[in-house]
Amino acid sequence: MSHEIVEQNGGVQSLVLVGLCTRGVPLAQRIQRAITTFEPAGVPCGQLDITLYRDDLFDGRVLELHETELPTDISGASVVLVDDVLFTGRTIRAALDAVMDYGRPKSIELAVLVDRGHRELPIRANFVGKNVPTARDENVEVRVSEIDGCDEVVITRRSEES
């Protein structure tokens, strides 16, 4: 995927990776490391917490806020958002609003590890690790060794509530 990203953007010139909290962040960092192996100049990598932009904030959980840290001014940059799972598209919609509040990028692209379908908004990923068709009531969880101790994608079916 890292090669694809650099190729599509014609080099690392104005590229900025932004990992979406939480698991998009280590994935973005891995992509950054991977890019550095063939483009020594490297690309800046930051992280974005979109909690305050969610459209489902008050349905009962008090959501913890995570750090947002963007390494450079993103105005004029080619931003690549990095997330673990693309599902309804609402998270990405929130991320777009958040990024726009930080500046005016030249373009925003999306790289995801897993696209599981069932979009509710007209959002598409530019770079996809793997397409995994799922049923709506299934759950897809990506685990990364930086946070969960292992690398795996787990699909579970919601168990019958008693």
């Binding site: 979109i50 305050l52 969610r54 959980r61 995570h66 793997k130 759950n139 690398d151 994608v153 168990s159």
Partner: protein, 363 residues
């Protein structure tokens, strides 16, 4: 490297971006006496995130978009009201300012009538300041709307204490183990009371200092039935030795009701924070003040504006803290008055007589 694994009949896993915070179950922010350490830390950490928002070119997020927050101020205050207004607007909420002066009864509409009217007009959350202690409790127990206490009489000012704790943590990296000295008209100070609860919950050591007529009577008696776990010292020169935080409070003659104090000059002579007195505190000590300051009375001008003063930080931290409190309470109450939160309920005050457990509160 990464494989799709199917596990039939597994339990639904949490994949959201945040963990359930200790604020679940909270219905109001009335005072810090019913806040656990975890709840206070949740505010401080959330305020860190809010500070990031305040550092951006566009200092606004849509989190509270569509929600209506009413500032119901029965006591004049530009500073606090503006701070709450900016905080609410930064979160995208609609803000309505209602100022009422004097006794609600005089105006012909009772406090509860006013609140019910505001509810009917769509207010989702109330920020309230009143000159009578307990007014927000009366509102919270009669009206189905979350209340943030912006100061009630001489009783409590929780957001002030939270921003004070935040400022201390910003400077020292921690609060536990620090020695804090609060000086002034403690008997009439809601800032002193809320700070006593908040700082003690976070593990600081707190001492009240002032002349006997300005100290809460139970702290003077030998019966030891003072409700706070604080030290008391009437001698400032003794009490200030080696403290980390010096917090003088505003002292004014019109609050003294007749003759608690012979004169402000006499008070300043014995209790003003002067450069000389500050030198007796720890070398890294900071000077705080809830404002507005009476320079020359409780604090000398050069101390108020000196290197050790963090008063400006307190003011700017106030917005971040209030953004954090509004966000957390809105979330905990499922979006305020229109949310799923069931019925009004106010727990008895936690003070050693009856301590409400977190589980009880969540039921």
């Amino acid at each position: 490297m990464i494989e799709a694994v199917e596990r039939p009949n597994g339990k639904l896993a949490e994949i959201e971006t945040g963990l359930t915070a200790p604020w679940v179950g909270r219905k109001h922010v009335l005072d810090l006496d019913d806040f656990s350490q975890e709840e206070i830390h949740a505010v401080l950490e959330t305020a860190d995130r809010m500070k990031e928002v305040l550092a951006r070119p566009i200092r606004r997020v849509p989190a509270l978009r569509g929600r209506s927050i009413v500032n119901l101020f029965y006591e004049a205050s530009t500073r606090t009201r503006v701070s709450f207004e900016v905080a609410a607007k930064n979160l995208g909420a609609d803000v309505v300012n209602v100022s009422a002066s004097g006794s609600s009864v005089e105006k012909g509409e009772t406090l509860l009538d006013t609140v019910r009217t505001l509810r009917a007009l769509g207010a989702d959350l109330l920020v309230m300041r009143h000159n009578h202690s307990g007014a927000p409790y009366t509102v919270a127990s009669h009206a189905d709307i979350p209340v943030v206490n912006a100061g009630d009489g001489t009783h409590a000012h929780p957001t002030q204490a939270l921003l004070d704790a935040y400022t201390i943590r910003e400077r020292f990296g921690k609060i536990e183990g620090l020695r804090v000295l609060i000086i002034g008209d403690i008997a009439h100070s809601r800032v002193a009371r809320s700070n006593a609860w908040g700082l003690r919950a976070l593990g600081a050591e707190v001492t009240f200092c002032g002349p006997p007529t300005l100290l809460p009577p139970t702290t003077l008696s030998s019966e030891g039935d003072s409700p706070w776990d604080v030290g008391v010292d009437m001698d400032l020169d003794h009490a200030i030795e080696g403290v980390d935080v010096v917090m003088p409070l505003r002292v004014q003659l019109e609050r003294q009701e007749g003759s608690r104090l012979a004169s402000l000059r006499g008070y300043a002579r014995d209790y003003a924070i002067t450069r000389a007195r500050l030198a007796r505190a720890a070398p890294h000590a900071i000077v705080m003040h809830p404002g507005p300051m009476n320079e020359g009375v409780e604090i000398d001008a050069d101390v108020a504006h000196g290197l050790q003063s963090v008063v400006q930080d307190q003011v700017s931290n106030g917005v971040a803290i209030r953004m954090a409190v509004l966000y957390l309470l809105m979330a905990a109450t499922h979006g305020g008055a229109r949310g799923r939160a069931s019925g009004p309920s106010v727990a008895p005050l936690a003070n050693g007589i009856e301590h409400v457990s977190a589980a009880q509160r969540r039921s």
